[in-house]
């Protein structure tokens, strides 16, 4: 089954082919479940004019936020970008284009992109700035807006465990956007905490089947906590 072995040995191999102007879909919610090493590799590569599709843009010095320093990001498609001062600055100065998208619509756009559904109707955003310019249609007397799907040249994903065939499972709420991102990249790269042999993951409980995955790399993670709250 050599043709199905998705494991690569270096971050260079993992992100090979990424070039200026591409669209990258990134898993993660806040700093939780982000592919830290793949983001660092994009910073190292210095690729420019990238469009990122990701729920958030990290913080100033971690997550996708580190790609703002060298102005590698041209456009951001996100639901919430309030954790990042440099982001706000570049947005207000017009250096950074931002397309704010409701969180559920964003997740569904990624899923639809991966599932070959070019567009779907949703009530989310009807009558708000999000709905402006979008097709409206009534179903059972309620108006809905048409939202188009999203695909990326690359998808960067963080999983807990993957086998050599690319079958992945996620840990706790680090799952979030990662499964949808994994389906929506022309090239999907998964950075994992642990690589296991085929058969070690229960076939009925694989979150992302290997068919969606092109490359798997073992990473090491800082796993920074964004809001540390403990019980008194």
């Amino acid at each position: 089954m050599a043709g199905f072995d998705k494991v690569v040995q270096s971050y260079e191999q993992a992100m090979a082919g990424l070039s200026d102007g591409m669209t990258v879909i990134a898993g993660g919610f806040g700093l939780c479940g982000i592919p830290e090493g793949l983001i660092a590799q994009i910073k190292t590569m210095g690729t420019k004019d990238l469009t990122f599709v990701s729920n958030n843009c990290g913080v100033d010095d971690f997550g996708l936020g580190i790609l703002l320093e060298d102005k590698q990001v041209k456009k951001m498609i996100s639901s919430y970008v309030g954790e990042n001062a440099l982001f706000e600055q570049q947005m207000l100065s017009g250096e950074l284009e931002v397309e704010l998208t409701p969180q559920g619509t964003l997740a569904e756009k990624m899923r639809a992109g991966g599932a070959g559904i070019p567009a779907f109707y949703t009530a989310t955003g009807y009558g708000t700035p999000v709905g402006e310019g979008k097709e409206v249609k009534e179903f059972n007397g309620r108006p809905y807006i048409l939202e188009e799907s999203i695909t990326g040249d690359f998808a960067i994903v963080r999983a807990w465990k993957a086998d050599r065939y690319g079958n992945c499972i996620y840990r706790h709420t680090a799952q979030n956007f990662n499964p949808m991102a994994a389906t929506a990249g022309k090239i999907t790269v998964v950075e994992v905490e642990e690589i296991v042999e085929p058969g070690e993951l229960d076939p009925a409980h694989i979150h992302t089947p290997g068919i969606y995955v092109n490359r798997v790399i073992k990473g090491t993670f800082e796993k920074r906590i964004e809001r540390r709250v403990v019980s008194k």
């Binding site: 409701p102 989310t124 700035p129 680090a174 799952q175 949808m180 906590i225 809001r227 709250v229």
Partner: protein
């Protein structure tokens, strides 16, 4: 007297029924979880992909992979489930969450809500709020009745960019409980010691006041 944040949360918690699945926004709504009556249970949905959100973790339980929609570290209750963002919003959009409680900048008499953007001032994004107001069966807005300059947040027509249209049916403020229907706010309860006149004065949108307005029970 105007309710405290905790008292608003207490009043919110009295809306819940045993077996309700509830999504609580950041701020006052989150506090409501502390005041759920002892004889009922609700299950908290956190839109980042957790049904059955529990208390904050101890130091020993802290786990960067276990957070809520406010990006705070949390735990899961026994019998919780964890899933993707697409599944989470399928639940929300599909109307499976019984209650959503969230804050707002403004609500108007047509049930429109503005809660996510103040042009040129606050552009952080809507997060899951637009999906929540479009999807939940029952939505409760919690907020102060007026802003700190005394301007009413209950308007004839929202002035800020909207989060959703015709979706708010119930508002709980520091002064009152109001139903939103037929193009007006309908006063149903007032905070202990707060007069109908004060509520009337601080409600800019059309207000319908019945003959008798009971005080809230907390």
């Amino acid at each position: 007297m105007a309710l405290t944040r905790e008292q608003i949360a207490m009043r919110v918690a009295r809306e819940f029924k045993d077996g309700d699945y509830v999504n609580l926004g950041i701020g006052i709504p989150t506090l409501a979880a502390n005041y759920v009556p002892d004889d009922i249970s609700v299950m908290l949905q956190s839109e980042n992909g957790l049904l059955g959100m529990g208390r904050y973790p101890t130091e020993a339980e802290l786990d960067a992979d276990m957070i809520n929609a406010g990006k705070e570290t949390v735990t899961a209750i026994t019998g919780a489930s964890i899933f993707s963002s697409a599944e989470s919003f399928a639940m929300i959009r599909g109307g499976h969450v019984d209650f959503t409680v969230l804050g707002a900048f403004e609500v108007d008499v047509n049930g429109n809500i503005a809660s996510w953007m103040i042009p040129k001032k606050l552009i952080k994004g809507m997060g899951g709020a637009m999906d929540l107001v479009a999807g939940a069966k029952n939505i409760i807005v919690t907020m102060t009745h007026a802003d700190k300059h005394g301007n009413s947040k209950l308007l004839q027509e929202c002035t800020l960019p909207l989060t959703g249209v015709n979706c708010i049916t119930r508002i709980i403020t520091d002064l009152a409980v109001l139903a939103v229907k037929d193009g007006a706010f309908h006063l149903t309860e007032r905070a202990p010691g707060v007069s109908v006149d004060e509520i009337r004065e601080k409600t800019a949108g059309k207000l319908v006041v019945p003959d008798s307005v009971p005080e809230m029970k907390l």
